[in-house]
Amino acid sequence: MQRNHDIKELIVISGKGGTGKTSLLGAFASLATDKALCDADVDAADLYLILEPEIRKRQDFQEGHRAVIDQDRCTECGLCRDLCRFHAISPDFKVDPIECEGCGVCVHFCPVEAIDFPIKTCGELFISETRCGPMVHARLGIAEDNSGKLVTLTRKEARELAKNRGLGLILTDGPPGLACPVIAAIAGAAAVLIVTEPTLSGHHDMDRVVELANHFEIPASICVNKYDLNPDMTGVIEQYAKERGLPILGTIPFDPIFTKAMVQNQTIVEYDRRSQGAEVVIEIWEKLVAGFCLQKG
């Protein structure tokens, strides 16, 4: 247990989606040594597309239950429909699997015990080898819930993997947003890097995740992607960061090379290390390493 404190985890988040989290994390994966990788965006996991993992182990993610009414035993008394707060039971006593919250109230109160409550398989978890090191990623089943718990499990497996291999660092790709999956992704992290873009939306959403990081007392730093699409807005973001004492680790130019690298299933560092975009990303990585002592030696 004590050893866990030796493993540091860096999470890349953004609030707003599509700011470049995964491309950036992929680049860091090319640069870092002695690390495990973790894709905690279980809703729309994309890191595997760049890193092309060889899957070594897969496991079902089972979490929660779902009510199923046995029509043979059901007397259609209607108590379940009265008690269900999620309107999940139809007038002909079928449970809508999407609306069912898995609370078990109908199961408990059914007077003839006609409702089964099987455990749900909500997704899958994968442990793999990639050219950039071992990786844990997951896939939430389509239209499934419990994404926060799958995020927690994915991070736990990554930590276990790092521990078993004696790796000192975990690089985690976080989900967009602000609620349960993001909170599950950043809890207990050594640091978060917030990737934003110079738009009013990017600024607005960044402000909310900065507040979230503060709320959970996790040190945050910022980088601005595609900064040159609106240099004035980049200036506003830099000023915002300065006022709050948040380090801006770099401003990355808009560079079609990010898309070109992705299309070739490569990280931007692999695709063209000398490109303008890659050079700034390398600089950001060096600052992160220095600032949070992410690499040994």
């Binding site: 700011t19 729309a44 707060r85 609370c103 408990h108 947003g177 602000l178 609106n230």
Partner: protein
């Protein structure tokens, strides 16, 4: 420009004093039914196999979704809504990171706090029997030593503990999740909600925003990214889903997940490809193979990117876009009403 520039005009109304004034005036209506219970058109959403004839009713709900974030949902939702003007109503269901108000700059004339129900145990009545702990699937109520502890952030407001308590010792109290606001921009109706930072559950707020749909309008829902519960709550029971993507491997991967979701929900759908000239042909090939209509393609253009970055609308800054969005609506209407 200072950061306060991004906050909608009527925000000052959310001050506590004013809220209590609204409560006193009887304007503030709390949802009595928590979570998924409050829908604008509940009959549509509840039964998956409900007969499809409802889809032919006069006006529609169009949801704008995407697996991947940052593909342009907000751009499509806001511009479509403004292009349609008084015929439309814009509902921003991305309650974690709402952005539509930045572009719409609505005049907010109604603000309310959205709450869910969580248990409160009266320890004078509690006998520590533990039945509440047994029924709770979410570990939100636990008997420890000589007390029953509640964890409101884990509670799903199912009411099981209240029902099961033999001593009638558990009451439900309101837990505040966020703020709902509605108003207008000229003749366009608008509503959104904002989750309080640190709150876990987005769905009750999404349900509140959806309850603000109006049956005689074209309701346009801006959904959050992804494919899990908040997205389902936003798009379920709508008449058409516009999936906004970009022509990259990430865009395609996440589009496939989103298509899987709308297929499970049984909703007609089409694709908009944003930054259509930056990437590869994967999305187009997929759409052809799956026979999903491509409703619009927007090439990358610095002027469009800058218009967006400054919180401006294409339909206002670049005149020919207004017609394109009106046309988009016509195309959606055709696809949505096809048998």
């Amino acid at each position: 420009m200072g950061h306060s520039g991004t906050v909608p005009k009527g925000d000052s109304r959310s001050s506590r004093e004013e809220q209590s004034l609204i409560v006193a005036a009887g304007i503030l209506v709390h949802d009595q039914q928590p979570s998924k219970a409050s829908r604008a058109f509940p009959a549509k959403g509840v039964e998956l196999n409900a007969d499809c004839s409802r889809n032919t009713k006069k006006n529609m709900i169009i949801s704008i979704a995407s697996g991947k974030g940052g593909t342009g949902k907000t751009t499509i939702a806001t511009n479509l809504a403004v292009a349609l003007g008084s015929k439309a109503r814009l509902l921003d269901c991305d309650v974690e990171e709402p952005n539509d108000h930045i572009f719409i700059r609505p005049h907010v004339n109604h603000t309310e706090t959205v709450s869910t129900k969580v248990p409160q145990v009266d320890m004078n009545k509690c006998t520590l029997c533990g039945r509440c702990q047994e029924i709770c699937q979410f570990q939100a109520i636990v008997v420890v030593g000589k007390t029953a502890l509640t964890f409101p952030e884990l509670c799903h407001s199912c009411g099981g503990c209240v029902q099961v308590c033999p001593e009638d010792a558990i009451a439900e109290i309101d837990k505040e999740m966020g703020i709902f606001e509605s108003g207008n921009r000229d003749s366009l109706g608008f509503a959104h909600a904002r989750l309080f930072v640190g709150q876990v559950m987005a769905v009750p707020l999404i349900d509140r925003v959806r309850a603000a749909a109006e049956p005689d309008k074209i309701n346009i829902i801006d959904a959050p990214p992804g494919t899990s519960c908040p997205v389902i709550s936003s798009v379920k029971g709508t008449d058409f889903v516009v999936l906004v993507t970009e022509p990259t491997p990430f865009g395609l991967n996440d589009l496939k997940l989103a298509v899987g979701m709308v297929k499970i929900l049984g909703i007609p759908h089409g694709i908009i490809i944003n930054r259509s000239d930056l990437g590869d042909t994967g999305v187009t090939e997929y759409a052809e193979k799956e026979n999903i209509p491509i409703l619009m393609e927007i090439p990358f253009n610095r002027l469009i990117a800058q218009t967006y970055s400054n919180g401006k609308l294409l339909v206002e800054e670049l005149p020919d876009w207004k017609d394109r969005f009106v046309q988009l609506y016509e195309e959606i209407k055709d696809h949505a009403t096809k048998p």
